[in-house]
Amino acid sequence: MQAYLDLIRYKVYAELSAEAARTFLGILWWLIEPVLYMSVFYLIFGVMFQRGGEGFVYFLLVALVVWKWFDSSIRNGMVSLETNAAVIQQVYQPKFIFPVIVVLINTAKFLFVMLLFLLFLLISGKQPSISWLALLPLIGVQFVLIAGITSLCATVIPFVPDLKWVVDNGLTMLFFLSGVFFDISALPEHFQGWLRLNPMAVLIEGYRSALLLGQMPDWGQVFWVLLFACILIVVAVGVFTRYDRIYPKLV
């Protein structure tokens, strides 16, 4: 067990440092890439469509930062067994470590960007309030959610590779429905319920409440997200255990 923990830790460190070493600007890209990404949305929705009011930048950025973490983890994690096919066929390791490594790598990058975002908020004059502490449980719940979805996708995709495209489009659709660039509470009542079935929509509203409005998130809803995420993890662990030594034949 210790060897596997060492392996995960080393692999995460090695991948992160390799990414940093590979490009000219290195780790600066972990900041620049989200900034570029966000500028596009701000330009289109904030400036061109005049959708936002005051504070639209923060409204948008908060959601984009947490969404990117969710999206990248799942996209890279779901194919992690395929990506590591060579080593899977050469030596035995429990397969779950592969999506776990992807999630941890993306989490490290997210924490870096989130830290910078908080600094940005402070510099822009936002007062930190007690509600900022809600960040910790929110990030914790999102981590479990991401781990659950990523692992589950990773267990299934070697059997049905076509699902890659289903997940791909599913994520795109979910992105549009998560209230990244609109406010769910501004929509008609009957839509709100449906949209809040999406765990990311709940979390994004939570982050916005905590960081921008100085209010605590709706803990009841967050709890349901956590429960859902835990169920996913249990299922994923079950599938990995059952098919652990079958995957080498498939990848």
Binding site: Q2, A3, D6, L7, Y10, K11, A14, E15, A18, A21, R22, N84, A86, V87, I88, Q89, Q90, V91, Y92, Q93, R245, I246, P248, K249, L250
Partner: protein, 257 residues
């Protein structure tokens, strides 16, 4: 087997791979059918047979990487098996050193053990300063040397060698052959897959001959090798009507005999 302890048994192993045969259709390709043999402590077992996926699959079953679909692999004690293949999961943009550490971790060693072994691994691989260059800049031979070195020093209970002896330059091939010979003579258990009958003859105590997923022979090296060569000589004779193929077989036979 004169009182040698059996450490692992394959019993009636069947294993298939799924093959796509059309839209939404698959069939099963049986790589192994009803394969059974024992592995004794300290012996060097050779696996021979015409090209096909069966031999490598057997190594992976012994290593515990895969499970059989039929039959079972019985381990009489906890065993760590290390597959000495060409590149133990190398990541191209990481350095040789980092990949060596990764390789060691993959092979079940913990971080402190790997780091302790690192100087010897680097020395055996003869990579020198290249050890801190990314692996994507290595030649096949360099990658093989590093992989071999890591797997060797990981000191597994069973060493599984899959056609790896032909890489590297003359000096390294000699070094790896010598290392393998040392290990074979010691009381480590080794399983070697090779097409080179000379290697098999010089290193192995017993041989398993697998062809088309079936066992064609199991027993002492000389006996099975003789069986194998007789069977292939028969093939040459019956193909005499087709000069091209016969010439190919004869040429192949000559270099092996």
């Amino acid at each position: 087997m004169e009182g040698k302890k059996i450490i692992l048994s394959l019993k009636n192993i069947g294993l298939f791979y799924k093959r796509k045969t059309g839209l939404l259709r698959h069939d099963k390709f049986w790589a192994l059918q009803d394969v059974s043999f024992d592995l004794c402590h300290g012996e060097t077992l050779g696996i021979i047979g015409k090209n096909g996926v069966g031999k490598s699959t057997v190594l992976r079953l012994i290593a515990g990487i895969m499970e059989p679909d039929l039959g079972e692999v019985i381990r009489y004690e906890p065993l760590r098996a290390s597959l000495l293949a060409l590149q133990v999961g190398f990541i191209p943009h990481l350095t040789g050193r980092q990949n060596a550490i990764l390789g060691g971790l993959f092979l079940g060693l913990c971080r402190s053990d790997v780091e302790a072994l690192l100087p010897r691994i680097i020395e055996f691989s003869e990579l020198g300063d290249f050890i801190d260059q990314p692996v994507r800049s290595y030649s096949m031979g360099m990658k093989a040397r590093l992989g071999f070195s890591v797997a060797l020093y990981a000191d597994p209970d069973i060493l599984l060698v899959d056609e790896v002896l032909g890489v590297g330059d003359v000096d390294f091939r000699k070094k790896s052959a010598d290392a393998l010979r040392e290990i074979s003579k010691s009381n480590k258990t080794v399983v070697i897959v090779s097409h080179n009958n000379e290697v098999i003859r010089s290193l192995c105590d017993r041989v398993v001959w697998i062809e088309n997923g079936h066992i064609e022979g199991v027993g002492p090296t000389d006996a099975v090798l003789q069986q194998y060569q007789q069977a292939h000589a028969a093939v040459v004779v019956s193909d005499a009507a087709r000069p091209g193929k016969a010439a190919l077989e004869a040429g192949g036979m000559r270099s092996e005999a």
